[in-house]
């Protein structure tokens, strides 16, 4: 085998430019697949790890929800909130009233998500990592604040032409508000915080015109009881509204499950698209090998004349195809890893999400294996053609 590889290598070496192009063709295909899988894993990991941190939370929505689709059936009320708080195992329940409202800042108007929430509940919903920006960030909302708001990082810096600072005035839904604090940049799963304006529920009622609750966040004592508590929450609220399937209580576990399904599907579609380049690459190999067989017809005749069996010629060309595609596979792995890191870097600078490029050795080995397999399968037809040549005709061929 070692000698066969050496012999094949000598032949490949005679046609450097064409071989390099064929290798690149395979490398691009493998690199695309490896990069997409690695970024996909990283994306999934970063989102689910955030959700795992929030494992003691249950999100309750007034409607039928599954990730990617949500149909709102109405709103919750304070009775629902109180009933939820009374369920055993529930540590805290926080209500959020939110709606997109017109916000005016120095003559500029934009639609912004305005969220009404009791100040102490912000911690329940978003964890204690939501802080006001250091130094110029001002302070958090307080219970007795009136017409005061705390704004997300993007609202302060990106939404309006002019940057919003602490103590600036905003006009929200026709009412004047003072900015008391600017939140730190969140990104990732909490990117919603960056593009929201937070007011007390009392102020939210004055803007929205009602006391409705758009979502309830529940903090539980024991993560193991999450599913049971979620069922009970749905039952209580459905009873209050005399409707079946009115409330959807989503534990983070089920959210992770649904996200994984969505990501898995998304990844499969992306990999399928990337695989098209592998099919194109395989045609490149067939083409290169067919040309090689044609050019070397005379040589094949000579080899047969001096005693090569059909099997020898077949394996020589298959080894050649295998070598070219293995080289493409190795290069593809390297390019794929670089590609994964570059994509993650771009996502991080463009969208502010920190996604790790999760390059797994198994995926790289798989990529290499697929490359060699594609190479050998593509080499079968040209190699078969070469091996079946009649020695006397092949020797005569010039």
């Amino acid at each position: 085998m070692k000698d066969m590889i050496l012999l094949a290598y000598r032949d490949i070496n005679e046609r450097k430019a064409r071989t390099v192009l064929t290798i690149l063709g395979i490398a691009v295909g493998i690199a695309a697949v490896i990069a997409l899988i690695s970024v996909g894993y990283g994306f999934r990991q970063s989102v689910t790890s955030e959700l795992v941190e929030m494992g003691d939370l249950i999100m309750v929505l007034p409607g039928e929800a599954s990730w990617g689709e949500y149909m709102e059936l109405g709103r919750f009320n304070d009775r629902d909130l109180k009933d939820v708080e009374r369920i055993s195992g529930v540590q805290e329940a926080a209500a959020m009233a939110s709606r997109a409202e017109e916000v005016e800042y120095r003559g500029e108007r934009k639609m912004v998500n305005v969220i009404g929430v009791e100040p102490q509940d912000i911690d329940v919903i978003f964890g204690d990592i939501v802080n006001t920006e250091e130094g110029k960030g001002g302070r958090g909302l307080r219970d007795n604040d009136h017409r005061a708001c705390q704004i997300g990082y993007s609202i302060a810096n990106d939404y309006f032409d002019e940057e919003i600072r602490v103590n600036d005035r905003l006009n929200i839904g026709g009412k004047k508000f003072r900015v008391v604090g600017i939140l730190e940049k969140q990104g990732g799963f909490k990117a919603g915080v960056d593009s929201g304006i937070f007011v007390t529920r009392r102020d939210a009622k004055s803007i929205l015109g009602n006391d409705d609750i758009s979502e309830i966040w529940v903090k539980i004592r024991n993560i193991a009881e999450a599913e049971g508590i979620a069922d009970e929450i749905e039952e209580r609220i459905d009873e209050n509204h005399k409707l079946d399937d009115f409330a959807s209580a989503m534990t983070m576990g089920s959210a992770i499950e649904q996200l994984n399904t969505v990501f898995g599907l998304l990844q499969a579609v992306l990999v399928a698209i990337a695989s098209i380049s592998l099919i194109v690459a395989s045609m490149g190999i067939i083409n290169t090998m067919l040309m090689s067989v044609m050019e070397r017809t005379h040589e094949i005749g000579v080899m047969k004349a001096i005693g090569a069996k059909n099997r020898n010629v077949l394996s020589l060309f298959l080894v050649e195809a295998g070598l070219v595609s293995a080289a493409g596979g190795v290069l593809g792995c390297v390019l794929g890893v670089i590609g994964a890191y570059v994509i993650c870097m771009c996502i991080s600078t463009q969208f502010g999400m920190n996604i790790p490029a999760m390059v797994q050795p198994g995926v790289m080995l798989g990529g290499l294996g697929v490359a060699v397999l594609v190479g050998i399968l593509s080499g079968l037809y040209p190699a078969g053609k070469a091996s079946k040549m009649s020695p006397v005709e092949a020797v005569r061929y010039e």
Binding site: L7, D11, H298, E299, M303, A305, I306, A308
Partner: protein, 221 residues
């Protein structure tokens, strides 16, 4: 040792049948030196291809050491070419990507000889044909005469009983041609059967037995 009986070969070109060999009967003894002469198109190369197991006859039989090669499979024929026959072509037919010693070792590679043994024997053979200094040169770096010597060394690599030369001096000058013929005659003296196809009367004159061909038939023996 080699016996051809009623050997015929017909090439089909579309609907036209072109007979290249007609009822050829021939017997070649072990250790004989035979020259086949004839004009181009007389069928001498076709006969050589049959004797060298490169091609199969349309009808008739060829016995090499008692085995009818006309009834063998392609791989069995390859085995006979590898073990029993050494070919020397007019165009040398060396593999361009391989150097001299690798070219010589190639038939041994197909015969499954180990790498060390192959290289050792190839080097010995190249020294025998006077190419001690050119072992690692590629064909493009060798003269016509040197390439033909490499081809002779290659023909000898599996120590065959039969050497077949198709115009072996056709592509070299007369002085080199004489040197090539001297090597071939020496191989014949060692006991190998030598069959040479040529249209050069001078070359044929080296052979104790000359057969002439015309229109696919043997004229005299």
């Amino acid at each position: 040792m080699i016996r051809a009986e009623h050997l015929s070969k017909v090439y089909r070109m579309g609907k036209i049948e072109v007979p290249a060999l007609r009822e050829v009967n021939l017997e070649i003894e072990e250790g004989e030196f035979l020259a086949i002469v004839g004009a181009s198109g007389s069928g001498k190369s076709t006969l050589l291809n049959m004797l060298g197991c490169l091609d199969k006859p349309t009808s008739g039989a060829i016995f090499i050491d008692g085995v009818n090669t006309a009834s063998l499979s392609e791989n069995e024929l390859a085995g006979i070419r590898r073990e029993k026959i050494g070919f020397i072509f007019q165009q040398f037919n060396l593999i361009h990507s391989l150097n001299a010693v690798e070219n010589v070792s190639l038939p041994m590679f197909f015969a499954g000889v180990s790498s060390d043994e192959r290289m050792k024997r190839a080097a010995e053979l190249l020294i025998k044909v006077g190419l001690r200094e050119r072992m690692h040169h590629k064909p493009a770096e060798l003269s016509g005469g040197q390439q033909q010597r490499v081809a002779i060394a290659r023909a000898l690599s599996n120590n065959p009983e039969i050497i077949i030369g198709d115009e072996p001096t056709g592509n070299v000058d007369s002085k080199t041609g004489d040197a090539i013929m001297a090597i071939l005659k020496e191989l014949n003296h060692e006991g190998r059967t030598l069959i040479v196809v040529t249209h050069d009367a001078e070359i044929a004159a080296h052979a104790p037995r000359v057969i002439r061909m015309r229109d696919g038939r043997l004229l005299e023996q």
